[in-house]
Symmetry: none
Subunit: 196 residues, 4 copies
DNA sequence: CATGAATGAGCATTCATTCAT
DNA sequence: GATGAATGAATGCTCATTCAT
């Protein structure tokens, strides 16, 4: 009596998740190149062969991990996609970024480790490209409506700031005062009277 | 024949620099793990064996490259080390950071690629630790004197901002408007009346 | 319920044939080592496990394929086994060889691919050995009765010729003019007056 | 004191030859796919790594082996390239083929093992293509001048014959009476009066 | 009988490092 | 000092085979 289709599906689902999580953990902490397939299989207590039953290469494994996190990020963004960003939406947006950051620390650690690896990052870039452009358009519009002198440069700066915060937090989650910094940012960017 | 000795020394120095520069170029563009010792030796037109005459391992080569750049950074900082930062000194400080960034793009690209690789970065961290603490004390003091509400958080935020800018610039040197962003920062942080 | 039993048997027979044919197709076109059990199972739309229900190893599968084709060849031969070969029988013999060749192209392609692999071929050889000897005796006799000077060498040569034709045809079925070549051979070997 | 250029060259030459010969031996006897790089290195008493210092892949190793033998064959042929083949040249030609066959048995064993392996052979074919066409043109002309009825089919047949002999000889060098067969062929194809 | 998840040995290949010359 | 041949451990990956269900 063979297993039913559903039983197989369930096994596959479980295994795949196990592998993805193990790989994320290792990639984030040891680096992609420093993590061997053997090590992942070992840590996940499965055979090397089985891993290849679920992912056809190490690179595909990486891609699936990255896709997962990017999708979540893009989704957040999609909610505010329609035209302009009101102040309230901007606050919500910042809030969500920080929330995602805090909920998926390991993932973002990997993301930053990868983002700076010339060879690997190109593939990720393709996926994020569209998102980045959308973000940039929206932010520029936001600053434009605030009568900021150089809204484009301001959008770049805001982006860099969020990158910097993310990186600092991810590298040193205990030491970096995320909450305080978040408050600071919301003040800076939304108390218009005090803001340049 | 002391002259011969000197000449030898000079040759060694030159050759070491050649290797360091070749390796930096390759590490930055292709990634540390993707760059083989063979490739470095080839590119530098020396034999693999000779490279090991100058650096006892690939890792040491990397460490020396990193040390080299950090020193430069620390030096800049040392000049303002004494107690407080005046507005003029702060402007000078920001100016210098951007200058270093622009003059050593390849180095910083490597730096960021490495900074996110926990295993490798630990050694670098030791060296930078002291510098970071010093920087942090100074920045906190600077913001304190400006009557900023939470000077410590503000120092973290400023650090994160500089990190973010550096990373963005280094990843996309042509597209990122450094100069404009620099002006924005100086305005934000020194036209205190307009700044929160 | 003897009927069920029979049906089972029938299913088994059918399935086995399906596997054999699928494997032959793949072995011939992609090579034995390049064809994985997975691929065969896939192509035959059965599970890997089931395949092992019919053949206890990949090698056994290959052996059964080879045996199957050899049997057919040997059977043809059996009909002329008794003593001498008349001219008419010789023509019939040649005809049949060409017929088998043309009807089982895939099989012979595999056969030649395998025939030159010493390790694998040894087992096949055992089966063909007896047939070859029989053939040789018969051919020698045939040439002997034609008053050919060295009937034994002539038999070797005839065998080599048939091998060569088979190989050429099998490697390039469209380009090789089998029919014309067959006519040529029959002329050469049976119009004795014109033939040395 | 490093080795001189020539010393290095000599070492390389020797090593390369050693690897080629070892690989030929194994490829011929065990088959290409059945022979692992490990095995070759072992047999040659060198490390796997060193092999890759001389050949950049297993496939390149095979190609170099094949090229070597094909070149020799093509060279023989080149001598008679100019227009027609006289009877004397034809005898010489046949003689040379048999000579090459006997002097490089291992090589031709490999050649036949490869020639029938669909995936691998394509690359060889490119190299031999031109030679085969040339051969075919020349043979057809030869038979045409002999007033043979279908010179083209006769050329195909002659080619198949040589293939078959080669294969039989190479598979069973002791048992196959090359010399007698050679005599038979020369008689058949050059005693025009007796030949169809 | 039938499934496909799981295994593990084996493979081609790379590469930091050593060392005889 | 200088060379590059040589090593061998490690890596990503494949695949015949087994087995719980």
């Amino acid at each position: 009596m063979p297993r039913t289709e559903e039983q197989f599906e369930e096994i596959r689902e479980k295994r795949k998740k196990l592998i993805l999580e193990t790989a994320l953990e290792l990639f984030a902490n040891e680096g992609y190149h420093n993590t061997s397939i053997s090590r992942i299989a070992n840590e996940a207590k499965i055979s090397k062969g089985l891993l290849y039953n679920y992912f056809k290469s190490k690179e595909e494994l990486l891609n699936e991990i990255l896709s997962f996190g990017i999708d979540e990020f893009v989704n957040v963004f999609d909610q505010n996609k329609d035209g302009n960003l009101t102040d309230a939406e901007m606050i919500y947006f910042i809030d969500r970024i920080f929330e995602i950051l805090q909920n998926n620390q390991k993932y973002w650690k990997l993301y930053f480790a990868i983002a700076t690896q010339p060879t690997i990052f190109e593939k990720v870039l393709e996926k994020v490209q569209e998102f980045i452009e959308e973000y940039f358009r929206m932010m520029t519009a936001f600053f434009y409506h605030k009568d900021i002198e150089d809204p484009e440069a301001e959008a770049y700066l805001f982006g860099a700031l969020m990158d910097g915060i993310s990186m600092n937090f991810v590298m040193n989650p205990m030491g970096f005062p995320v909450e305080k910094v978040k408050k600071l940012i919301i003040n800076k960017y939304l108390n218009i009277k005090n803001f340049e």
